[in-house]
Symmetry: D5
């Protein structure tokens, strides 16, 4: 299992809608609206890096209101 | 009660209108047009973080002329 | 209860030691070494913002190897 | 009377001490430790811009633990 | 009297037109096209900060070709 | 097997020495001195993310002349 | 033969399609979707710098979904 | 005679066309497509700073495909 | 005669001393402590670009407390 | 033959000395002190990329006063 944090810049007024859409995805363990330079932070899990890559590019990046994503892999040390 | 500063980048020519709209919100304690890298700085208050989150994403970010917001929570130490 | 993500830039060679020291703090729910622009990401919890502020400035920032911290509050919406 | 926000980057572990030292200055109306890209935000007041400039460069910038300051003038519109 | 430098990013091909429009404003003491990260730098004067704020947001930011402005107040020390 | 690109900022005059030291590590598939914002780019491989994390923080970051590292995981899609 | 890494920022949802289109080009030795500040990293080869320049500006930059490219030349030391 | 380097960010797929258009201008001594954070670098010459300013804002910035320019004056020491 | 604005980042507590030292140089027409991302802004004049270059690198950059300078040439259009 | 521009950030007061040292190297076709975000720009030539890499890392980066270098390869299209 691989884990990653995904930092999301959302369109104005959209952070809650984006967080809610994220929470509808099985791979998303948590998705919260936050303060600071990012609008939403999601913790996601996938069987391997390939599956993780697809979740980010095909599911998360296509949610309406998502403007930019930055992914940080959990190395587990 | 939680407090936060919200730094706002406004569209060209809109800072005063944005500040005025902000001052119409009950949660906004002060909203001023400033010099420097941001255009408007608001000091807001809400009963808890959830309410604060909603004020920012549903009220402030939807004001016409607001292009980007960055929120700094007051930790009170 | 308030939650926050703390993004940490660590000195070269120190991320694991920083993550380990973080995991020794009761307020730290998780602390992992990550890839990307930050070295370590911690999820912390405290009774209120004041307590949260003290954990960050008095406990986390004083761990040997911590060079910069950036805190993102979970707004819970 | 002129007002300004001063955003302060503090040395690791020093934000509380810096905020406390700031609150000891008569020109400082408020000084709080915050989350986000800055560590401390002060609201200051002075009779005119000259006095304001001196407070920042001769009083605030010489507080132990202050690494960088960025000042935003309140224009009052 | 308060003075400020206003750094202006202009649309491609527009710096001279922007500088010329600026020079038509009574509050503008000088406005020149420059090299470096900004396109035009204006030195402006106003009776007080409120008037200065209005010149920037209502007159300068509404000149055709002005994309971003950054204002630096002269503290006079 | 997981793969990652590690972008390295090296001290002045050290890129070749850093690249050479990297090529001495079994996990490093290639390490080259490059032009552009980074000085050296390494392609590394490890059995899993934990092993990858250790290579980066305990082996690569402790090479003399390595000032900063930024890791990009290959997702394989 | 000259080699270069090309870091690519892709439109939301497009990294996989961009990587796939890249892998269709004979000059592209590898093209992978990655985590971190870039979306796709390609390793390309060309007989000389002129040919390399044309591959980047006429083939890679015209792939649908490519928003920005940054090229790092392999110096081979 | 004054000399300046002009760093140009070009639209995707346009660097060669921009460089070619530049080479058609008498004031342009050289214009080449480059790797790194800029797309094209031109070396230009003009009788004085005023003429130089006009070449940049009226000729170079109006070439189709030029998105941003940054000018560095040669001081000749 | 050539004119330039020099933006100066000063060490903490030093802006006034730097501005004062600058005002002692014949080539400096004005030097003021300012708010915003820079600490001091000087307007300088020299017979030609060579002389201007020497004023910046040999006189201004060697003033105690000057950490970084960024020069913007006045093109006069 | 390969050509590259090398943008150099120099220590305060050192640009002229750095430019002079550069002009002493056979591979350096021109080296000038400039205004803007860099201090010195050199145009260098070498038989191939390997030789170019060595000139930058072993000769240019070891000149006293050179703090950072950024290299842009001329692609010749």
């Amino acid at each position: 299992m691989v884990q990653a944090y995904v930092f999301i810049q959302a369109a104005m007024g959209k952070p809650s809608a984006v967080a809610e859409a994220l929470r509808g995805l099985p791979e998303v363990k948590s998705a919260v609206v936050v303060t600071g330079p990012y609008d939403v932070i999601a913790l996601i899990e996938a069987p391997d890096l390939q599956a993780l890559g697809r979740v980010i590019t095909e599911k998360i990046q296509t949610i309406e209101g998502v403007e930019r994503t930055l992914t940080s892999l959990v190395t587990g040390i």
